[in-house]
Symmetry: C2
Subunit: 622 residues, 2 copies
């Protein structure tokens, strides 16, 4: 009997997909390029994949997480049901964070790279108009080629494989001794990837990508000028396997690393295609791709087994992988193009942080600086030109809006600012749309404002007896028709997150026999960090109470570092040097972590004296 195949339509997104009967509905959506940013890895607990069946039959259990009312309206959790007939499916708008090709995440504006030396790309084509041999100039073909390369490029003699060598004599003679060599350099040295006849340089491009757990940002670069030709941002479609790195690792263990590798490779391929189209170039002109991301993202991209990263003693397969052929990981660029990963420091401090160090110049400072990247995992680096030490704190996704019931990503309609005017809360949404939920920066503001207005106390509890939630927007005025409220559980999640980050900073300083007053420069990296209100963040104890001029925002240094490495071999080598020489400190091994964490479970902190050094809090009239 032939297997039945059903069409599943998502009319809101103008998407449809054909799947065999019995396919998981979440998988079907994923195949249609639709992701939901779910957190639970398909176990039915996060409710992110709640969909409404307009037409057709599904089979499956709907846990008690859905209300009887929702069930009667036709809502299901996609992860828990299977396709049993042709379907038409709809979803509450706020859950659509993006889809494979079109995304709501704001694209980083295309900007020129910082003024630096002219590009000396990691992989490049060079034209070699060689002299024809004669009896007086009778070098072997290979030596003639190698000498030509070393004359033009500052590299050690590059290696060359047998297949390329076999073709060399014919190529040289058929092209009157003028050929084009593609040279890739890695930390070990250089190699010739390809030799072509004549001047085949044409336009040469490279791709730099920041592979975040949630989203991917990529840029297409002109290898010669260093110009950014196009940019692309999209959701990391590994999200269907769970929202945080731990669920990704578990999914890879269960379903095979290849599945997650394909997901991210497909994302990169989509981004590359789109950017090439924008720039009017071709994929096979892309000579290399340089990716920066946390250690788990890097493992999953390379198809490496990340299982031991999530189990004590938290060991990576590698933090400094060598370049590999892009096609070996399913990335579709020039046939011989290479994939480089920005080297990382440890299992929980990845290449995105190494990139951050180099982009912010942490490794060149005379004074001591601190770099913090706030995310599901917050990474912290402290140091100067002589030494660097890094650690990671597992903050959970609350600060990104994901551990909060009304939380959402920073897209249109998200509450991004909460201010206090005349004792009441004033909300500002992205795009000034009707509010649909609250995003990371809004959450920090909200907790601070709730504290300022006395709605919650320093322990994060409602001061009004019997109160269990605080309504920000009633259903009638919300963009979704659903009330937007914050609960004590939400606030507890946020306090846990900020406490984890603060405890990590404290411990790192303690190991270094320093305190916050030693920090002359406090750099906040990551796209999310850009939207933080420093004073609000200090008031809840997420950031230390330092003079406001100490703080800087660095933006997406992961992408910028990948771009700089792509265009400058020296930067790539420097990144390896930083990755090797930064001390990685694993908090999991710190006995005093729990104590520091507990002390930080107040707003701003148990030890209030820590937050009266610079008077930041008094400015807020607490």
């Amino acid at each position: 009997m032939a297997e039945s195949v059903h069409i599943v339509r998502f009319p809101q997104l103008e998407r449809a997909v054909e799947v065999p009967e019995g396919t998981n509905l979440l998988d079907a959506a994923s195949q249609a390029g639709i992701t939901f940013g779910q957190l639970c890895g398909g176990t039915g607990s996060c409710k992110r994949c709640k969909l409404k069946i307009i037409e057709g039959q599904v089979n499956g259990k709907n846990r008690s997480t859905l209300t009887p009312e929702e069930v009667s309206q036709g809502f299901v959790l996609a992860c828990l049901c299977t396709v049993e007939s042709p379907l038409t499916v709809e979803a509450p708008e706020q859950f659509f964070d993006g889809n494979g090709l079109e995304t709501h995440i704001p694209t980083h504006p295309a900007s020129k790279t910082q003024a630096v030396d002219p590009p000396n790309p990691l992989t490049q084509k060079i034209f070699l108009p060689l002299a024809a041999p004669d009896l007086a100039n009778n070098q072997a073909d290979q030596q003639r080629l190698l000498d030509g390369i070393v004359e033009q490029m500052c590299v050690e003699t590059p290696a060359m494989d047998l297949a390329t060598l076999k073709n060399l004599p014919r190529l040289l003679r058929e092209n009157d001794w003028s050929v084009t060599a593609t040279i890739a350099t890695d930390r070990d040295g250089a190699k010739i990837l390809r030799v072509e006849g004549g001047d085949a340089c044409g336009s040469q491009t490279m791709v730099a990508a920041d592979i975040g757990t949630t989203s991917i940002a990529a840029q297409l670069l002109d290898s010669r000028s260093g110009d950014i030709l196009a940019s692309s941002s999209l959701m990391n479609s590994q999200s269907v396997f769970g929202c945080d790195v731990t669920s990704r690792i578990m999914a890879a263990e269960k379903q095979g690393a290849a599945k997650l590798q394909q997901a991210v490779a497909n994302d990169l391929n989509s981004a590359i295609s789109a950017m090439c189209q924008t720039a009017g170039t071709k994929k096979d002109q892309v000579q290399a791709i340089v990716c920066s991301g946390n250690t788990v993202m890097c493992h999953l991209l390379l198809g490496l087994d990340a299982a031991n990263i999530r189990r004590s003693p938290y060991i990576a397969v590698t933090t400094q992988p060598s370049a590999v052929a892009a096609k070996d990981v399913g990335i579709d660029i020039s046939p011989k193009g290479m994939l480089y990963c920005v080297p990382g420091i440890g299992s929980w401090v990845g290449g995105d942080i190494t990139a951050g160090i180099i982009e912010t110049g942490l490794h060149t400072g005379n004074e001591i600086s601190l770099l913090m990247d706030i995310g599901t995992n917050g990474e912290i680096v402290i140091g100067n030109r002589d030494w660097l030490m890094a650690c990671s704190a597992s903050a959970g996704p609350a600060l990104e809006g994901a551990g909060v019931e009304c939380g959402m990503r920073a897209t249109a309609g998200a509450i991004e600012r909460v201010e206090v005017r005349n004792g009441t809360l004033r909300l500002k949404t992205i795009g000034d749309k009707l509010p649909k939920g609250i995003c990371g920066s809004g959450i920090i503001d909200l907790v601070s404002a709730l504290l300022e207005t006395g709605i919650i106390d320093r322990a994060g509890l409602f001061t009004e007896t019997g109160k269990h939630k605080h309504i920000l927007v009633p259903a009638s005025r919300s963009g979704t028709g659903i009330e937007i409220a914050v609960t004590e559980a939400d606030i507890e999640n946020i306090i846990n997150a900020k406490a984890a980050l603060y405890a990590a900073m404290k411990l790192l300083l303690k190991r270094l026999a320093l305190d916050f007053s030693s920090i002359h420069r406090f750099v906040i990296a990551g796209t999310f960090g850009n939207y933080i209100d420093i004073q609000r963040a200090i008031s809840i104890g997420l950031l230390p109470d330092l003079p406001s001029e100490t703080f800087e925002f660095a933006g997406n240094t992961s992408l910028a570092g990948a771009r700089r490495a792509a265009l400058h071999r020296e930067t790539y080598l420097q990144l390896h040097g930083i990755a090797r020489n930064t001390t990685y400190y694993d908090l999991m091994g710190a006995e005093d972590y729990v104590e520091e964490f507990r002390k930080a479970l107040f707003l701003p902190h148990t030890d209030i004296a820590e937050f009266h050094m610079n008077g930041n809090n008094t400015q807020r009239k607490l």
Copy 2:
């Protein structure tokens, strides 16, 4: 209609082969593993493949090179006829120089390598009992492995491919953190070929091979002790494609390089199998093979196009190839085993000579030395610790017994010494057998003796008017029933050969503004050189008239150099340094070569004064 297949039997050699009707008889013999050392590449001119058809039909022309008597006796030239029925075939015994598996070339006695530092092989397995990670020792798996390697071996951090990296976490954990890594080093650095669980070192061997145009000599080495476990010598079965390098290149151009590559790879595989059997080890324990040979042999081994080596301006594809996977050239050793070629100096001065330089210490001398390797091409190197210059002279095969009608290889029954007693010639054969022909050392003696006894004059002509040949052994007393005689044409070939070598030395000295008196040490390399009578060689002008204590014999330095490189990475790197830094001088570009050559076309030389410096000639009572 099905193709007819016929059996061709060679009862003398206990060989038989089945071939389709119409197969060339030389090809059939080749398939049976029988080679003839033919010189002409199958064009019917050298007569080396003359065979007698005992039974059956062949089809083909027998050029006028066969006498009517031979034709009536059933002789044919195998290269010019095809198999048309089942055949039984016989050949005059002296033409059997050897066959694929069993050979008449004396095996080099197994001897210990010179006392040098303990081996540090080019490719080796090392056992790594690593520490299990914990929270305080939380390196990535790859870094743990690499640190373990660098601790045991003096190498730069080795490279590692993605496939090996993917397996690493499982291997480490399944084997309680004890693994065995196979590390290959090349001039560019080191790489990890393989990682196995536990202590998988076992017995480790390597193969060193001298790939001569005519014969191959190989040794199986214990990687740890450096001991020679077994030796093997066999004919280079590329001989069916012609005897000298030029005919081999032409055959590769016509029939494809792959065919010649397979021939030599099969020879090496035969030698490796035989040696492993002798030593009681297995082929897959062989970690690497290091080959030394002239530049053309190296090209054909690697499957490189050697066509431009034989055409002005005589350009090689490479003289310093990188190591390649042995399986990529069809050599059957350990699955990941590497093939290394000893680097050469120029198109006509190959790795065998670089090996000779290092083995004889030419590159370390304070005084100026000269190294000469006599063969079809004679290579000459002059220099000291500060500089080295090399050239090659195309002497032709006469000095090896091949350009002389009664010439044969140095096997049983070959006349190897000719002395003059009471004015008559006295002959000595190898093994004191009945004479069958004359080999290289005998030929030098013979010309010298003919000159000494006045049978020929200084121009190489018979002094007796009308004499066209000098009979050495009448048919009745020869081992083959065929008269052994030398003609004026034979003597002319020998004079041409020695003149080419002498002119090359003169020109090289001239370029260096030196003369023979500057040479403090004259080293003769190559197996053949060992058998030369120095005084006789001087008397005909093959060697310069230097004090006899100036001369040294070095034997097969090509094989010894390959062995030393296999066992010592430093030697391999030194060989590359020598290859790079030795100036290659191509005589083809020298306008004064012809003049020097002409001057040397006398016995010993036009300028007799050059040969009365040390009185060597007067000792011979000329």
